[in-house]
């Protein structure tokens, strides 16, 4: 099980130190939510931020979610910046398999993002070609309600679909994961959790991460 940290919730002012502390506290992956103001109604940050951090944290997995329209134009840029995983929204591109293939050929792990509004049928046909499926608990860029029940159902169905096909991508959950709901998500079949506010706002980041990783039913 992997506890990843959403970079957006870190203090940008001292991004390097904040993230180093979190990684030292036990987070093996760092999650970057890139938002272009169109796929998602917020502009967060682009590759320059990731490139700067790659130098600081050479051994951490950079798990990048591209909340951008036409991600195919950004694949090379983000791999160059140091992404290890690149996840895209099926709605953002006209030919999803082509983009995933491009990511894989460039040596990166491809992933897909399932918003509350995305049907699993949009990604069923590419399950054999992804390493990560990100299930969003909230509508990205909107804040607002957590679609917990919907997410749990999707995770369970996804596990079955993967078993049927003999594949086992990481099932990652993002958008309001906390020690309160982590157990339920993992029990449903998730094995990667993105934690943002609940870790970065914690005084002791190491303890917050350990708490997340010690949910019942979790083996590392």
């Amino acid at each position: 099980m992997s506890a990843n940290l959403r970079v957006a919730k870190a203090n940008f002012w001292s991004l390097g130190e904040d993230l180093s502390a979190a990684v030292a506290g036990g987070a093996p992956w760092l999650h970057f939510s890139v938002q272009d103001g169109r796929m998602v109604p917020k502009i967060s940050f682009g590759s320059p931020v990731i490139k700067s951090l790659r130098k600081r944290l050479p051994n951490t997995v950079f798990d990048v979610k591209l909340g951008v329209i036409e991600p195919e134009h950004r694949v090379a840029e983000f791999i160059d910046a140091g992404a290890d995983i690149l996840s895209v929204h099926p709605e953002a591109t006209l030919q999803l398999p082509a983009v995933l293939n491009a990511i894989e050929e460039a040596g990166c792990a491809p992933g897909v993002v399932v918003n509350p509004g995305t049907q699993l049928s949009s990604i069923e046909h590419v399950l054999e070609h992804v390493d990560v499926v990100v299930i969003m608990l909230v509508n990205p860029g909107w804040g607002g309600p957590k679609y917990m029940r919907g997410a749990l159902e999707k995770i369970r169905r996804l596990r079955l679909m993967c078993a049927e096909r003999g594949v086992s991508p990481w099932i990652e959950v993002d958008g309001g994961v906390s020690p309160k709901n982590a157990g339920e998500l993992i029990a449903a079949g998730a094995n990667a959790l993105v934690a943002g506010g609940s870790v970065f706002s914690a005084a002791d980041k190491r303890q917050a991460i350990q708490e997340l990783m010690q949910r019942p039913g979790v083996w590392v």
């Binding site: 957006a8 203090n11 940008f12 002012w13 001292s14 991004l15 390097g16 890139v34 938002q35 272009d36 103001g37 169109r38 917020k42 502009i43 967060s44 940050f45 682009g46 590759s47 320059p48 931020v49 490139k51 700067s52 951090l53 130098k55 600081r56 951008v68 329209i69 134009h73 950004r74």
Partner: protein, 284 residues
Amino acid sequence: SCLSCSSVHSSLLRLWSRCMSTTHQPPPPPASNDPPEPPAKRVKPSTESPSPAPDSSAMGPRRAYIAPSVLSSDFARLADECQRMLEAGADWLHLDVMDGHFVPNLTFGAPVVAALRPHNKGFFDCHLMVSDPHKWVDEFAQAGVNQFTFHIEAAGSTAEALEIAKDIKAKGMQAGIVLKPKTSIDDVLPVIDSGLIDTLLVMTVEPGFGGQKFMEDMMDKVKTARAKYPSLTIEVDGGLTVDTTKIAAAAGANAIVAGTAIFKADDPEAVIKEMRQSVEELSK
């Protein structure tokens, strides 16, 4: 609602007065520039003679604004980098927001700016290379931006540009308008004539692409604007170095955006000082 507008406005005023009370720099300029000169009286066909050109020779040295661009900094150490710039004598911090659509690059948005704000007393000069800039006025006002500069090409029309400028001012920020190299200076004049614009930004490279050379032919735009508006802040961005600053200043520019020329210099303080001197001596 009115209540939320005024609370943003008053919190920005408090923020502004905190910025103005910074002690480790000479007193910064007042929040708004002098209003631009009213347009010259229209010459009637019959007997009236044209009004005399505004006499700028009586003005003292023009106020210089040197604005390092944070895009050239190390994002993992944004705190130290911005503080380093202020201590080196920067007047403004120039923030290049790019949305990957209006220009091909995607840099950063309001969350990054909002994270900088509590730690830095400087003037945040924000250049928005985004489609539909009106959509972002509120968010950047709340992030604590001091000047919101939008593209005339993104506004699409004089009417829309005026609406955006009005909204920017209503939210307590200074309004800037910027034009790309291929856009005629004529497209921004009606907007500046309204009196709502504090700063004109003339791009001296194609926005969104790195490593370009300073386009000297853009100086015609600077000269035209300077002749019409003696008190307007005229900013230039793209390929500015110690040498090209002299050219820009001589044309009438008084605000200089520079990235690598300042950030990557061995002695940023010396570079800033020299640029400021060029503006004060050459800009007229």
